[in-house]
Structure formats: structure tokens, C-alpha cells
């Protein structure tokens, strides 16, 4: 069992009641035990019944103790005041602290010391409990944040995987339509013409030759359309590492050297998207803020990690200021399970590390 303020409170309450019982053993008066029993029951009710109104039970305790104290009906009443004060302080009824000041004339020194100690212990436990509750609340808050972030990460990953899958399907559909609508018709027409050529070759060789030339011409057109369809597939956009290389090559303001090593086949579309965005933002930032003479971009892919390093020799600001662009990118890197760090010691170095979840999507 973890030692919490509640545990300490229970231990002190039990110890307090035991002390009162030991004190009662000196006198053995029935009313003293009756008072002790009432205090114990109230304690149990506060411990047992969740929705009990605490101030009412504390008030009942206090009333009972004061009645016994002033009537002299119970020997344990003096020490019982200390017990009630301890309980009251723990539950935050600080007004009860005036009680020993009022009753000081009726009590002996030992009882006053006991009561003051009990009240102080109750007060300490109250503030400990408050701090404990606040820490728990804080922990819950951060746990909730982490949970939300993980949930967002999971959702984003699933959505990206779906988008990737749908893009592939759309592209397949486009290729199929292109081949069917353009090249397919020409090829089928040529095939039928060539069959006719075979049939009329013996009877009318001139007509057959003319038809054969036309079929060849249509076949040529079909091959051309098929070439166009394939050309449309590969040449329109660069993807992945080609795209990154293209970005670096087309960046004309500063010479950018791009190097890549490792097997890139396992990197998913969403990670490529993050890496490209990061590269673009870094290149723009370098020109805007650092005025560098060169920029080096290195992309290393291992079985477990994807590491993108962007380095320039421009003027570096020592104070850690991160713009909104990089802040958003850092958030995106975190959502794919990675980490983004910036080192400004000698040269400006931005390092992004993302786990390589090859084949996980």
C-alpha cells in the first residue's frame, strides 16, 4: 500500500482513538467509553459513507465532546477535544482552532499540549492532502494530454494509410481508363484489320496490302498512346528521395548538396511528406535568417531509423527561438513518432530522427 495522506490520517485517527482508550482504562467510566464509541463511529462513518456531509459529523463530535467536557460526565473529554480538533483541521475546519484558546482556562497544561499537537498534526495532514490532490490532478492532466496525443497519432497514421491506399486505387483506375480509352481501341482495331488481311490475302493481295499498311499505322498510333500513358505515370511528379533531390537542385539561392544513403523503399508516403516539408521550411529559413554560403542535406536510412540532417554555415542565433513553421513541423514529426533537434554550437544543424516502421502500414 502506498503511503498517502489518507493512510497517515487513518493511522493517526486509530492512534488517537487507542490513546483515548488507554486514557479511559485509568478511570473505567461508562460515559467515557460511550463518548469514545461515538467518536469512533463518527470516524467510521466519515470513512465508510461516501456522501456523508462531513461538517455535520464533525459538529456532532464537537457537540458531544463539549457536553461531556462541561458536564464532567466523561474523564476522556479533555483529550477527546484534541481528537475532534485533529479531525476538524484535517477536513479544513480551521475555525475550530479557536476552541483551545477559549477552553484554555478549563484545562491543565498537559491536555493543552496534547490538543495543540493534535491540531497541528491535523493541519499538516490537511495541507499534505491538498498538495497530494493537486499533484494527482496535474498527473491526470498530463496523462490525458499524452493520451490525446497518442490518439491523434493513431488516427493520423490510419487516415494517412487510407489516403495512400485510395491514391493508389485512383491512380490504377486512371491508368486503366487511359489504356482502355486510348491505346486499347487502336490495338483492337489493328488486330481485327490484321485478321481480315489474313482472310483476303489470296483473293485480293492489293487490297490486303493496303489494309495491312493501315493496320500498321493504327498499331503505331496505339503504341504512341500507350507510351503517353506510361509517360504520364512517371514523369509528372517526383516522389520520395527524387522529390527531395529535386527540391535541392531547384533551390538556386544557395548551393545545396544533397546526399542519401540506405534503403528508402520502406518509407511511407506520410513520412516522405513530413521530410519534404521539413526540407523546404529549413531551406527557406536558412536563406531568410542565416545568409549561408552552403547548405548540406543528408538523408540516412537504416533498418530502424530515418535521419535527416540539414546543416548550413550561416549566422546562428544563440537564443532558442523557434518559429511557427518549425514548431508546426516539430509537432508533425512528433506525431509520426520522431524527434526534431536543433544544434547551434558551431554551425546551424537541424536533425530529424524518425523510426523506420518498414512494412508496418
Amino acid at each position: 500500500m502506498k503511503f498517502s495522506p489518507q493512510t497517515a490520517f487513518m493511522i493517526f485517527s486509530t492512534a488517537g482513538l487507542s490513546l483515548l482508550f488507554i486514557d479511559w482504562l485509568q478511570t473505567i467510566d461508562t460515559m467515557g467509553f460511550f463518548l469514545l464509541l461515538i467518536l469512533g463511529l463518527m470516524c467510521l462513518m466519515r470513512y465508510r459513507v461516501k456522501h456523508i456531509i462531513i461538517y455535520k459529523t464533525i459538529f456532532a463530535d464537537l457537540l458531544m465532546v463539549l457536553v461531556f467536557f462541561f458536564s464532567g460526565g466523561a474523564s476522556t473529554a479533555q483529550l477527546a477535544i484534541g481528537f475532534v480538533l485533529f479531525q476538524g483541521m484535517y477536513f479544513g475546519f480551521f475555525l475550530l482552532a479557536v476552541l483551545p484558546i477559549v477552553l484554555v482556562v478549563f484545562m491543565d497544561a498537559l491536555s493543552i499540549v496534547f490538543i495543540a499537537t493534535a491540531a497541528a498534526v491535523g493541519l499538516v495532514l490537511h495541507f499534505w492532502n491538498k498538495e497530494h490532490a493537486s499533484r494527482l490532478q496535474q498527473r491526470d492532466y498530463y496523462s490525458n494530454k499524452i493520451y490525446e496525443m497518442e490518439l491523434m497519432h493513431t488516427n493520423l497514421t490510419h487516415v494517412l494509410a487510407k489516403v495512400e491506399h485510395m491514391s493508389i486505387l485512383a491512380e490504377r483506375s486512371r491508368i486503366s481508363a487511359d489504356i482502355h480509352d486510348n491505346a486499347g481501341h487502336e490495338i483492337v482495331a489493328s488486330y481485327i484489320s490484321l485478321q481480315t488481311v489474313g482472310k483476303i490475302m489470296d483473293k485480293n493481295p492489293e487490297k490486303a496490302l493496303e489494309l495491312f499498311d493501315k493496320s500498321l499505322a493504327r498499331l503505331n498510333v496505339g503504341i504512341g498512346k500507350m507510351r503517353d500513358a506510361v509517360h504520364n505515370l512517371s514523369a509528372v511528379t517526383f516522389m520520395g528521395v527524387d522529390s527531395m533531390g529535386d527540391i535541392c537542385r531547384n533551390f538556386t539561392k544557395v548551393p545545396v548538396k544533397f546526399q542519401s544513403t540506405g534503403d528508402m523503399s520502406g518509407i511511407t508516403v506520410n513520412i516522405w511528406h513530413v521530410l519534404e516539408s521539413l526540407l523546404k521550411e529549413s531551406l527557406t529559413n536558412a536563406v531568410k535568417h542565416a545568409n549561408p554560403t552552403y547548405i548540406n542535406v543528408e538523408l540516412d536510412v537504416t533498418n530502424h531509423l530515418i535521419r535527416l540532417q540539414i546543416q548550413n554555415d550561416g549566422v546562428t542565433k544563440k537564443e532558442p527561438s523557434v518559429g511557427s513553421g518549425l514548431r508546426n513541423l516539430r509537432y508533425r514529426v512528433v506525431t509520426v513518432g520522431g524527434n526534431l533537434s536543433i544544434d547551434k554550437t558551431d554551425v546551424y544543424k537541424l536533425v530529424c530522427v524518425i523510426p523506420n516502421r518498414k512494412g508496418s502500414l
Binding site: L25, I28, T30, F34, L37, L41, M45, Y47, R48
Partner: protein, 227 residues
């Protein structure tokens, strides 16, 4: 009252519980004529001893329900925990009610008890019986095995009876131990019946009985929290 009927039937199916809780006390009520006539306090102390023993057997059904998971099935139905405990305890105190009623009738008609003493004895025994059942309930709630609960109870029962003045008068105990049993109900029950025998149904007698009842409430609260 379904839970009550079910608990009562289960109690009846267990012959040991009913032997200890009903048959033996009834035999004692009919056989110990000289004790009931000359020293009824001693007879009642013996009866409380048997109540303690049999209540553990009778209330152990609640522990059984908890161990075999029946309690979960019962709690799914629209039955509150308080309702469940109350009806089980009610079923457990039925043998006590029978024996106490029998003792009252026998005491008044056969052992020449005064009417005031008879009523006082019946009231004190009934309150003590209810508190004993509550004590057994509380005890069983702290255990996860029926046998360990039973063996530990036998040991503690001997201690309770010794410290409460049921086995020997508390004056015979060493100084420190004479009133250590005050936190348990048999101590106050013995005081109540001694007061009843000596002074009748005085305010002190009712105060002792109130203390017994409050201790019982405490046992119920403590047992209820445990599980």
C-alpha cells in the same frame, strides 16, 4: 425477501450451523435447570459463547458468496449492498431469535424469573445476538478463505470470551487486561445482565445495551468498508 429466503434455506441445508446455533442452545435451555434458576447470568454467558461460535458458521455464507463470485451476480440484479447484507444477517439471527424467545418463555414459566428480568434478558440477548452477527460479518469480510476465517475466529473467540469475562470473571484477570475487552460487545453484555440481575432495568442497563448496539453498528460499518 428472496435473498432472505435463499440465505435461510442455505443455513438449513448446513446441519452443523443449525446444530451449533439452535439445537445445542435449546438443549442447554431445557437441561441446565439449576443454572437457569440460581445463576442465570452464567447461563446467558454460555449462550453468548454459543452465539459467537454459530454466528461465524451462519454468516460465513456471505464469505462463500464473495469467494465463488455469486456476489457479483447478485449485485448485477437490482439489489443494494445494504439490502443484501441486511437480509443475510436477518437469516443468520433467526436461530438466535428462536432460542432467545424459548429462553424467555422457559425462564418466566419454568425457572421462576421475574417479568422485568425476563424482558431485560430477552432484550439484552437479542441486542447481543444482532451485534454478534454483525461482528461475524465484519470478521468474515477480512478473509479470502472460509477455513482460515474459521480457524482464526476460534482463536480470537477464546480471547474475546476470556477478556470479556464470559469464561472467568474479569476480576480474576491481571490488572491491565481487566478492561481490555471493553472494545468488544460481550464485555458490555455481561455488565448489562449483571446489572439486570442485581438492580433490574436501570438506566445503566440501557446504557450498556446501547453501547452493545453501537459496537454492532461499528462492526457493520467496518465490515461494509472492507468489501
Amino acid at each position: 425477501m428472496t435473498i432472505f429466503k435463499f440465505a435461510l434455506l442455505r443455513n438449513l441445508r448446513s446441519p452443523v450451523s443449525y446444530l451449533a446455533g439452535l439445537m445445542v442452545p435449546v438443549v442447554l435451555i431445557f437441561s441446565m435447570t439449576s443454572v437457569w434458576t440460581n445463576a442465570p447470568v452464567m447461563g446467558m454467558a454460555n449462550l453468548v459463547m454459543l452465539m459467537l461460535l454459530s454466528s461465524n458458521l451462519l454468516v460465513a455464507l456471505v464469505l462463500e458468496d464473495r469467494i465463488d463470485g455469486s456476489i457479483m451476480k447478485i449485485m448485477i440484479s437490482p439489489v443494494s449492498m445494504v439490502h443484501y447484507v441486511f437480509q443475510n444477517l436477518l437469516a443468520a439471527i433467526i436461530p438466535f431469535v428462536i432460542q432467545i424467545a424459548l429462553l424467555g418463555i422457559m425462564g418466566y414459566l419454568h425457572y421462576n424469573w421475574a417479568i422485568q428480568f425476563t424482558i431485560g434478558a430477552v432484550v439484552a440477548l437479542f441486542i447481543c445476538g444482532v451485534t454478534t452477527a454483525a461482528f461475524s460479518f465484519c470478521w468474515n469480510m477480512f478473509f479470502k478463505s472460509k477455513s482460515s476465517s474459521r480457524y482464526a475466529f476460534l482463536f480470537v473467540m477464546a480471547l474475546i470470551l476470556l477478556l470479556s469475562g464470559v469464561l472467568v470473571p474479569i476480576e480474576a484477570l491481571p490488572g491491565l487486561l481487566q478492561h481490555a475487552g471493553a472494545i468488544l460487545h460481550p464485555y458490555w453484555f455481561i455488565r448489562a445482565v449483571i446489572t439486570l440481575a442485581e438492580y433490574g432495568m436501570t438506566a445503566q442497563f440501557w446504557l450498556y445495551n446501547t453501547i452493545v448496539l453501537l459496537i454492532g453498528t461499528g462492526f457493520l460499518l467496518l465490515g461494509g468498508k472492507a468489501n
